[in-house]
């Protein structure tokens, strides 16, 4: 094996933060090397330094044993490094071929599409990527769009490919195909840096470098460690989500809290976003909602919290029909909502923590005195919640846009828990949070379930859903394609349902 890319004591600082400190990392020819760590551990900073987007302050970068300096991504591309970002940089109305050629300037002012077509075709054959060069990118599935990004990098002559959380937007099926392509590329001698926080993917790589707080904790081979050991390296302590796994009281769960029947919803552009959705959630039960994002989850949560009005169907909460009523009525009847876009939908970013704690309840008797807000009372209650939910903030007045994602999410949880009593709707409550906070959020949700709440929990992390849910409903294209028991269902089966294959005789 030969070392293709290496960093020696690489250090990158941002004002007030050391994003990478003395990072020593090496990439061998023909290996898949995973960068593993929590959000903010320095994975993205390191890859941005490798791709020339950031310039490190200290340490050096070596390519094939020669010291190099990348002043911009252009330098890195010239040196044979390609990067596929988590969010694609494609022009939807261009064809695959046009997207690959755009910006390459190979033929000066001319596009040179004919020659490009031959090269793209041969790349597709070589790497076994099945793409129609003349298809419009907007007609492609997300997984195929990712292949276009990969082809783009290969077309530019990449020998090293950096993939930033490549499976975040994919169905399990698409991930599997992606990994098939990646391992084939590896066999053909390409080197791959894979940024991930998913254990399944980590275990498929040749070596793993674990980062924590900007430093390298260690580089290991996945066959030599257990997932548990890797998690401990990443977090610095043991985290066990399964400990909290303790199924709900089946008897209580028979008492339905939320009954949804035949719910359909068309958006303003007349797309059918929800198609005959039927669900029941019982008292003290967590119903997991699995699906690739954008398949109607958001609309379902918005209907169930009264933010949008369904075209047809009914919603019954504790025996009362409430479809079509405004969100106020849902809140008054004990429905709490943790929206997936927390700063846009759940918080007023410029407001302080205490003002956010009463968002939606600003007219409630507890927080008012005559016609005025009772700031003293609000402050006292907010401080109690800040302690209870271990929110780290200088004071109750601190604007929430100064808080980390985890602490901001805790503000929402505190508010929604305090003001609801029957149903908790949690859409992606742990997205973008650190493992420690994820564990905390799940524990809180389970505590609410044990208090007797009905919980609807959507997550892109299937493992988590399998661990936490009493039943899992799978949504695809706005339809519920199946409701399964997590005890005896595999991720693969759920993956098929997510891809739209309907389970016969569901429920």
């Amino acid at each position: 094996m030969t070392t293709i890319l290496r960093t020696v004591n690489l250090t990158k600082r941002f004002p007030g933060v050391i994003a990478n400190e003395d990072v020593n990392f090496d990439l061998q020819k023909g290996e898949i090397h995973c960068l593993f760590g929590e959000n903010g551990a320095g994975k993205s900073t390191l890859s941005s330094c490798l791709f020339g987007f950031y310039q490190p302050e200290g340490g050096s970068l070596e390519l094939n044993g020669e010291p190099v300096k990348f002043r911009s991504p252009r330098d890195a591309i010239h040196a044979g490094i390609g990067m596929v970002h988590q969010h694609f940089v494609l022009v939807p109305d261009f064809t695959v071929l046009e997207n690959i050629v755009v910006g390459t300037h190979e033929h000066g002012w001319q596009l040179g599409l004919d020659e490009a077509r031959k090269r793209v075709a041969s790349l597709c054959r070589e790497y076994e990527i099945d793409l129609e060069p003349d298809a419009l990118v907007r007609d492609l599935a997300v997984g195929q769009q990712q292949w276009v990004e990969i082809l783009k990098a290969l077309y530019l002559g990449a020998k090293v490919l950096i993939l930033d959380e490549p499976s975040a937007v994919l169905t399990p099926e698409e991930s599997i195909r992606l990994f098939r392509i990646i391992s084939h590329m590896k066999e053909l001698g390409l080197s791959i840096i894979l940024i991930s926080h998913k254990m399944v993917e980590v275990m498929q790589s040749d070596r793993v470098t674990v980062l924590r707080k900007g430093k390298v904790v260690g580089t290991v081979c996945p066959d030599e460690v257990t997932p548990k050991e890797l998690t401990r390296m990443m977090v610095g302590r043991d985290i066990e989500l399964r400990v909290v796994r303790d199924r709900s009281n089946k008897e209580a769960a028979k008492e339905p809290v939320l009954v949804v029947g035949g719910l359909s919803y068309r958006d303003t552009r007349d797309n059918l976003m929800l198609d005959q959705v039927t669900l029941t959630i019982g008292r003290g039960e967590i119903l997991g909602l699995a699906g690739v994002s954008g398949n109607g989850q958001k609309e379902l949560f918005e209907v169930l919290s009264g933010i949008i009005v369904p075209g047809s169907g009914n919603v019954t909460l504790a025996g009362e029909r409430i479809e079509g009523l405004p969100s106020r009525h849902y809140m008054d009847r004990g429905v709490g909502l943790v929206p997936d876009d927390r700063f846009r939908e759940g918080l007023i970013p410029e407001f302080g923590i205490q003002e956010n704690m009463i968002l939606g309840w600003q007219r409630h008797d507890d927080y008012t005195q005559g016609p005025f807000l009772n700031h003293k009372q609000i402050g006292t209650i907010a401080e109690g919640l800040i302690d209870e939910f271990r929110i780290k903030a200088p004071s109750a007045d601190t604007p929430v846009n100064h808080l980390s994602g985890g602490n901001a999410q805790k503000v929402i949880l505190a508010r929604e828990f305090v003001h609801s009593n029957k149903l908790l709707l949690a859409n992606q409550p742990t997205r973008g949070l650190d493992l420690g906070v994820i564990e905390y959020v799940y524990k809180q949700i389970i505590a609410k379930r044990d208090e007797g709440y009905a919980v609807l929990l959507a997550s892109e992390e299937l493992e988590d859903l399998l661990n936490l849910s009493d039943r899992i409903a799978v949504i695809s294209g706005g339809r519920i394609t199946g409701v399964v028991d997590p005890e005896n269902t595999s991720i693969e089966e759920i993956g098929l349902l997510m891809a739209g294959e309907r389970k016969e005789a569901a429920e």
Partner: protein, 371 residues
């Protein structure tokens, strides 16, 4: 960070400049910024006066004397400030909710017209009741016009900037017809002057402090400022108004009816602007004419912005600008400075104040990177 930024080839990095919000804002710093803005604005104004060929020192001392040099001058300045404070407050209420109403101008006219309708309808009531009814009608006039724009926005998604600007024209031309040949036209003269006849003394807003110039309208302005402050900072409605301005999505997600809040905002904003119209016509001009009301609403937008969209800041800005416009006359007489320089100076001061507002909220940091 978007991927587009990542792909942009970084220029050869030496020192980059970034603008970051200040986390802990110190009141002293904010004060210093506004002081600097005032001085810099005056310096630029002095240059302007100098280019017009006048004696700068003489001009400024005339301006200052005319504005605040004597009790009489102060009273005249406060009288000039009265409608500006009110239209400024109307701006504060709307803009804090990020409802971009430019309708203060029309609402001033609507307030004046509402009040004049009340004057015609309720003639004969006992004086105190009569004046109260007139004021109330004025408030309603402004509020109705404001609510109209809000309803258009809520029901038909009509952009409030466009609807309010268009309604400004409508209302001005409506008044022009009413007093230029229509039913309210002054009848005693053979020439049409675009005005109503004089308003009877029973309907005048009573004078404050014995002098004729300062009237009840100034008290209305101060009370309105206090009410706006209390509503914005201390009540659930104010909470909703501020939240609407920062993030309407989250506010709607958590059960607040946004359409209703926008309507309330525009009613409040229109009512305060309407009061400016009442105050000018029944406190100062004592007959309804178009040119007395002209531009009060648009100036109010500037006043509200300079006041930092805060009620008390708006009172201060209103008084300063009232002083400027009242002192401008002296400056013109004593230093032969064209009076039209005063609006230019107002413009300069607005720019420097807006810069001070940004300087108080943000800081410039230099980020050093080596290649």
């Amino acid at each position: 960070m978007t991927s587009i930024e990542r792909d942009t080839p970084a220029p050869r990095p030496v020192t980059r400049i970034r603008i970051e919000p200040r986390v802990n804002r110190k009141p002293l710093w904010t004060f210093a910024m506004y002081l600097a803005a005032t001085l810099f604005g005056l310096l630029l104004s002095a240059l302007l006066v100098w280019t017009s060929g006048a004696d700068v020192i003489k001009a400024f001392s005339a301006l200052l004397n005319g504005a605040f040099g004597s009790q009489k001058a102060i009273i005249a300045s406060l009288a000039k400030a009265t409608p500006l404070i009110l239209t400024g407050l109307a701006t504060v209420v709307a803009f804090r909710a990020q409802v971009w109403s430019i309708g203060q101008e029309g609402q001033v006219y609507a307030g004046a017209m509402g009040a004049y309708t009340g004057y015609l309808l309720f003639a004969g009531l006992p004086p105190a009741l009569f004046v109260s009814a007139i004021v109330l009608c004025g408030i309603i006039g402004g509020a109705v016009l404001g609510a109209l724009a809000a309803i258009l926005k809520d029901r038909f998604d009509v952009n409030e900037i466009i609807s309010t600007v268009m309604m400004n024209y409508l209302i001005v031309f409506l008044l022009s017809w009413l007093i230029g040949g229509g039913p309210w036209t002054e009848v005693s003269t053979s020439v049409v002057y675009q005005q109503t006849g004089p308003i009877g003394e029973a309907a005048h807003l009573p004078a404050l402090m014995g002098s004729g110039k300062l009237h009840l309208g100034f008290a209305f302005a101060l009370v309105s400022a206090l009410v706006c402050y209390v509503v914005l900072e201390k009540t659930p409605l104010g909470y909703e108004i501020r939240a609407l301005g920062y993030n309407p999505v989250a506010l709607a997600y958590r059960g607040t009816n946004i359409g209703r809040t926008i309507i309330l905002v525009m009613i409040l904003s229109g009512a305060v602007a309407g009061l400016a119209g009442v105050s000018e016509i029944f406190g100062t001009a004592h007959r309804l004419r178009s040119d007395t009301l002209f531009n009060l609403g648009y100036t109010g937008i500037i006043i509200g912005m300079i006041g930092g969209l805060r009620p008390l800041g708006t009172v201060a800005a209103g008084i300063v600008f009232g002083g400027l416009s009242s002192g401008a006359l002296y400056m013109k007489l004593l230093a032969q400075v064209p009076a039209s320089l005063v609006p230019a100076m107002e413009g300069i001061l607005m720019l420097t104040f807006l810069c001070a507002g940004v300087a108080a909220r943000y800081k410039i940091v230099r980020v050093k990177t080596d290649g």
